[in-house]
Subunit: 254 residues, 2 copies
């Protein structure tokens, strides 16, 4: 088992940010500045082309850490952020850009590339969770959630299906094609975000994917607008979802 | 124009409850106990077979009044609460009970009966809003919202379509049949609740009704569960929706 090594630390406005590595995978852990008590942990999967400290990640971390007193952790996905791209990454990215430039459907390329990234990332996340749970401020038996949009969903659905330590998850905005089978194995509470007028991901497939989750508690949040127009209040909603399911009341104003 | 007459007043835990009548229609207005400032108003339509002080109404009022500093008002729908039933009411209710007892679809009866109640109730709500806006603590130019589930949606959709003073609305849980045309005329922000496993109202029709709203800002909240299992956190979500759109921040914890 790889242990976690912290490589940098800073803090601002009540939140501590610590860069770390686990077995060579770079990540970041955001935590409340005060309090050594054990607190729930939310794993966050970044989007395609983004990285562990993308502002969407830092923004969600702020809500979870200062709003709920939780920890939040992100690792760079394979080929993303501070990790090298392989020849396969370069090839898939080139094909994706070619399709986008030609106005051709990007779905088939994203689906197969992200499915490959998920195969690599699921064991990385499991090793990272092992290491994070060694920290006394997290602990081995505390509640764990997962949130991922786009690539973060492509990785998160198989991760949550495989990982019984994750007991609540927020997903959104990924083609359903490679995810339906894993979704059928998920029984923990989920919140699922989709854009009603998504010009890239067909609505019917997303509704069918929501239907596939075996979770007794699941909520679909569909907002008017295109793929890139997901409203910011869904990050607040996700925070409240984790506050409900991971066991602490959010203290931030609505 | 009918003026509003208060008939009873009580208060508890920071909320004043005043019974009123407008042109013979009985209603209730819940307001913050402190502060004479003008504040936004949310009109609330109760469900079928319920009444103005049903606990679902009092519960939503508590969130809006003590959470946001808003006013909240309900009037009894025709044939409901303190209002007499007509022979037509009795006949439709008898038909509904007969269908329910026989295990036959109640949809067609609810749709036609609630459409008739909406014809009566829309002008009643408009007269009530006229009278409420005469109160100095509400005023003629303040923000107005509407929330209604079930019968409250059957009345609310034509009301919001007809009434430009209402600038944000929350709906849910009504057969779409009589509502699609009015929904197409609505352009204000809406939040729409449906139960994913609703055994009474077909899912496809509800999704088509959500699609019909012309609102640029609209959110569908679909939760796993049957007709009567709508989760309580949707009342919190509706409160935050009104806080966003009627112009004051909610102060209650999430």
């Amino acid at each position: 088992m790889h242990s976690l090594q912290f490589t940098a630390e800073s803090s601002s406005n009540g939140m501590v940010e610590r860069d770390f590595t686990v077995g060579g995978i770079p990540g970041v852990l955001w935590s409340p500045a005060s309090g050594a008590d054990r607190a729930p942990l939310v794993l966050m999967g970044h989007g395609g082309g983004a990285h562990k400290k993308h502002r969407a990640m830092a923004g969600r971390a702020r809500l979870l850490v200062t709003g709920c007193g939780f920890h939040a952790a992100v690792i760079d996905a394979p080929g993303h952020g501070d990790r090298p791209r392989t020849a396969h990454d370069e090839q898939e990215i080139a094909e994706l850009r070619k399709a986008q430039a030609a106005g051709e459907p990007e779905g088939p390329i994203v689906v197969r590339y992200n499915a490959r990234l998920a195969e690599l990332a699921v064991p990385e996340w499991q090793a990272t969770l092992d290491a994070l749970q060694e920290l006394p401020e997290i602990g081995a038996d505390g509640p764990v959630g997962y949130v991922g949009i786009g690539l973060g969903m492509a990785i998160g659905v198989p991760l949550v299906a495989a990982e019984p330590r994750i007991t609540a998850a927020v997903f959104g905005m990924m083609w359903p094609d490679a995810l339906v089978e894993a979704a059928r194995q998920i029984t923990v509470p989920i919140e699922f975000d989709l854009q009603w007028d998504n010009e890239r991901i067909p609505r019917e497939g997303s509704l069918a994917l929501f239907d596939a989750f075996a979770s007794k508690e699941k909520s679909l949040h569909a907002n008017a607008g295109k793929h890139m127009e997901m409203p910011r209040f869904e990050a607040d909603s996700a925070t409240r979802f984790f506050a409900r399911h991971l066991g602490r009341a959010a203290t931030s104003p609505a």
